[in-house]
Structures are given as structure tokens and as C-alpha cells.
């Protein structure tokens, strides 16, 4: 538990981490970042080394005391560099340069923007090697029933179990429990009319999917031939 803003585990006494260090007046170390070997770029790497959750650009900007746009472009530069595209300046250049620049070997790790934050991962190609050393995050695969239930919740959230059951045609109580314990879904209040618990996907779900937010899920529409508006059907009884 290292990073700033672990709202899950600690009451965030000072949620406004971002911004407070941006004025150079009171921030203790900012002026020195440029003078340190590697500069802001290395400073970002140093911070990424000690975090155990995705860090937002705001948090990172606050940590190194630089404006967000600069930090964002530095992060993209690092990302590309780890992937083997070297020779790019700290600020992301135009795409033409990538083509002309020879490609170096990628690093064994990659920097990714996931669930609204940046985080370092081992490169997927090395999964068989790395998995022996990692216990955390090792999750058994979901069953077909769990996957289908998760899909309905992801696309219809917030949604009650009864509604999910109606779509899948089977009782989903135990599957919903499993998904909750796995941290993939969570309760999201109750339906004002029926009083039923509603469920939604979690931040952890986004992390596991490697996406930034729910809108990035593939569209459901192409899978619904001839049904322009499914909402008209799904609440109907038989």
C-alpha cells in the first residue's frame, strides 16, 4: 500500500492530491527534478516503481510537479520507448518519425494506461515465465455462466439480478455472489421502484479488462441483427 490516494483502504484525508504541488512556491522538491539525472522522465519512472495501483495523470503530475499535458506526453514517450520505439524525444513526435526510426528490442515490461491510470506491467509474451513468480492477481478463469452474467451486468449496469436472470433465462444468484467476491462487480444502491439491489462493474474489472472505462467495451449493436432497440424488449414479460 504505497501510493497516494488509496481510497479503498484509507479514508482519503486529502483527496486533492493533484494540484496542490503545482504552484512552485510551497512544493519542497519540485525545482530539483530537472537537475536530477534523468529529469522528469526518470522521476515518473521512480514513482511508478513504488505504486501498486494505476496512477492517474493528475496524481503523477502532482508527484513530479509538472503540468498534466507535459506529463501525459512524457508517459506516452516512455510507453513507446519500452515497446522498442526509441529515438523519440520526450514530447511525442509526429508519426512519421516512427517509421524512419529503427526499432530497438522491446523491454520486458510495458507501461499502460488502464482504468484511468498508468501502471507498469510485465510484457504479455513472458506470461509463462512470470506467472511462476507471481501469486497476486492469479485468477482462475471464469465459467461460461459467470462470463455471460458479467457481460449482461457490464452492458446493462446498474442492473438488478432479476433483470440479469430474465435476460439469461436462469437464476444468477450464486454467479453474482462469485463475481462480487472476485471483485469484478459490486452493489450500486437499490432500484427506487422495486427495492432490488443493483449491480455494476468495478474499477478492478476495468483493470482486468485493460480498458479505461466501460464505454470502451465493444459495442453490443453489431451482435443484435435486426433489433434496433433492444430496450423495448427486455423489460417485457413473456
Amino acid at each position: 500500500m504505497t501510493a497516494a490516494g488509496h481510497s479503498d483502504n484509507f479514508p482519503s484525508a486529502a483527496p486533492a492530491v493533484a494540484g496542490t504541488h503545482l504552484d512552485d512556491g510551497e512544493s519542497p522538491t519540485q525545482p530539483g527534478v530537472d537537475n536530477l539525472p534523468g529529469g522528469v522522465r526518470a522521476a515518473l519512472e521512480a514513482v511508478l516503481m513504488v505504486t501498486d495501483e494505476p496512477l492517474s495523470e493528475e496524481t503523477l503530475a502532482a508527484a513530479v510537479g509538472r503540468p498534466m499535458p507535459e506529463v501525459r506526453s512524457l508517459l506516452r514517450g516512455l510507453q513507446r520507448e519500452y515497446d522498442g520505439y526509441t529515438g523519440l524525444g520526450p514530447v511525442d513526435g509526429p508519426d512519421g518519425s516512427k517509421v524512419t526510426e529503427p526499432t530497438a528490442a522491446p523491454r520486458g515490461f510495458e507501461l499502460r494506461s488502464v482504468a484511468g491510470g498508468w501502471r507498469i506491467y510485465s510484457r504479455a509474451a513472458f506470461a509463462p515465465l512470470v506467472s511462476r513468480f507471481v501469486v497476486d492477481g492469479q485468477t482462475a478463469r471464469l465459467t461460461q455462466a459467470a462470463l455471460e452474467t458479467l457481460a449482461v451486468i457490464a452492458y446493462r449496469q446498474p442492473v438488478s439480478r432479476a433483470r440479469v436472470s430474465a435476460i439469461r433465462g436462469v437464476n444468477v444468484d450464486s454467479v453474482v455472489r462469485t463475481l462480487t467476491q472476485r471483485g469484478l462487480i459490486e452493489e450500486a444502491g437499490t432500484d427506487p421502484e422495486s427495492g432490488a439491489f443493483l449491480y455494476r462493474t468495478t474499477h478492478y474489472f476495468l483493470e482486468r479488462m485493460g480498458i479505461g472505462n466501460v464505454e470502451e467495451l465493444p459495442s453490443l449493436a453489431p451482435h443484435l441483427p435486426g433489433l434496433d432497440n433492444l430496450a423495448d424488449f427486455e423489460d417485457l414479460p413473456y
Binding site: 513504488v50 478463469r141 457481460a151 449482461v152 457490464a154 435476460i167 433465462g169 441483427p225 433492444l230
Partner: protein, 295 residues
Amino acid sequence: MVARPDLAAPAGGTAPAAAGGGFEVRLANFTGPFDLLLGLITKHELDITEIALAQVTDEFIGYIRGLQQLGQEWALDEASEFLVIAATLLDLKAARLLPSGEVDDDEDLALLEARDLLFARLLQYKAFKQVAALLGARLDEEAERFPRLVSLEPSFAALLPELIWKHTPEQFAALARKALEPREGPPTEVALSHLHAPEVNVREQAILLARRLRGSGPVPFRVLVSDAADTLVVVARFLALLDLFREAVIAFDQANPLGELLVRWSGPTEGWDDTRLSSGFDGTDDTHHPREAGQ
């Protein structure tokens, strides 16, 4: 024509369930009625939007029949979903067997509506099944990447503020108690406690009616229920009459359709034992709260 359940494998390449498995085993192959239906349709290379479902209907029904023979333990709500779909399919099939007429009566319309709804739900399920596969593939792919998730270097860990701890062992135990309590999940059944309908016992009503009928001639049904306090009692008495009819101790007379229904005792005048009556359609054990209206 009726396929055995273990023959009804989906076309997706899934192996048929091993013989002798219970309902759960089968659900591993088909996660619900839509899944099964989808599997059958695919197997026959039918377009979902087509109506040529006679063969699929037979197999679906056969599947359910197999379930009934095999598993006693299948969950009611799942079973009912299967049955509802089977009934809809049967309706559709029956409609196709009848001479084709113009679609202008209400039943036909209702049938079309049922068909459209069934297909809509089936299409919806199919869509979710497809995106579920995409999600699964994505999760698998992502599982190959491991986030850096290491504990703090000791020098940094030492910087963490000393924990404020003010819980006594008793307070801590109270926390544990709360956390270890079985979680009250949201109710999964519709509560009936708010319904105040009194329980009416069919058997009690049958005894009452038998007593009345034995000493008299034919009595109109209208009279038999004239003292009923509410509809529930009327229904119970009607069911009781059916029960008595099954016991062959009463007979019905009705001169013309919708005419007066006369009920008369046809059993032995003496020595008839009402313990022979079954406990009635309500299946209760008489320990509930019988209520004899009008007594």
C-alpha cells in the same frame, strides 16, 4: 423424432453430456434454456428469425422430458424457464399444424406476439453470449500481463505514519462478530407475508358440503355457496365438489348450458367416511388455520 437429451448437443463443438449426469451437468453444456435453444437452432442450421422450428421444438421438448426423467432436483425457477419456452415453442408448432388461415383472430395475434417476443429474447441472449466470448478472450489476454505490485521498499515503508489503534479487544471482537455474521443477502423470494388472504381448507369444505348434501335432495350450486364469505371460499367449495365427485359420492345435473347446476348426494346415506377424502387440492395437512365460513 424426439431426441434424447444427450443427443441434443449444441453445434458449438461442445461434447454431449456424459450419460447419467444430473441437471447441473447438463447446465454445464447449456447455461439455460436460451443456450439450449440456440444450440439446437444452430445444429439445424436454422436462422433464428425463421419459423421452421418444428424439429427444434421436438428436440427441446425431448430435452426437457429427459431432464424430468433424470433429475428430480432441478431448481424450480430454471425449470419454469425451460417450460415457458417449451410451451411457446409448442404453441408455435401447433399453429403451423393447423390449416393456415388468415391472421385476424386474437389467438393468432397473441401467438405471433409470443413468437416475436421469444425470438427477441433469444436474439438478445445470443448477443450477450457473443460479447461474453469477447470479454472472456480479453480477460484471458490481459491475464498474461502482470502489474508491478511489489511491497514498499523498507526505507519508504518506514515513512508511513504510525498506526492509530484505539480498539479494545472487546471492540475488536464486536467487529469480528459483525464481519462473521452470515451476510443477509437481498431476499431472493417474493415474500407472501403481506398477503392477508385467509387459508381455506378444501377438505374442511368437502366435509361441510357432504354433511349438507347427505340429508337433502339436489341443491343448486348457487345455494351451496350462498353463505361463502369471499371468493376464496367459493373456489374451495367448487374444488371440494370436484373432490367429492371423484369419490363418486355426488352427481351433477345441469339441464342446459349455463343453466342451474344441481348437486345431489349419490353415495351411501349411512356409514360414509369422510376420512377417505384426500386432503384436497391444497395439499395441506389440516394443521393450518381452517376457516369455515358461515358456521
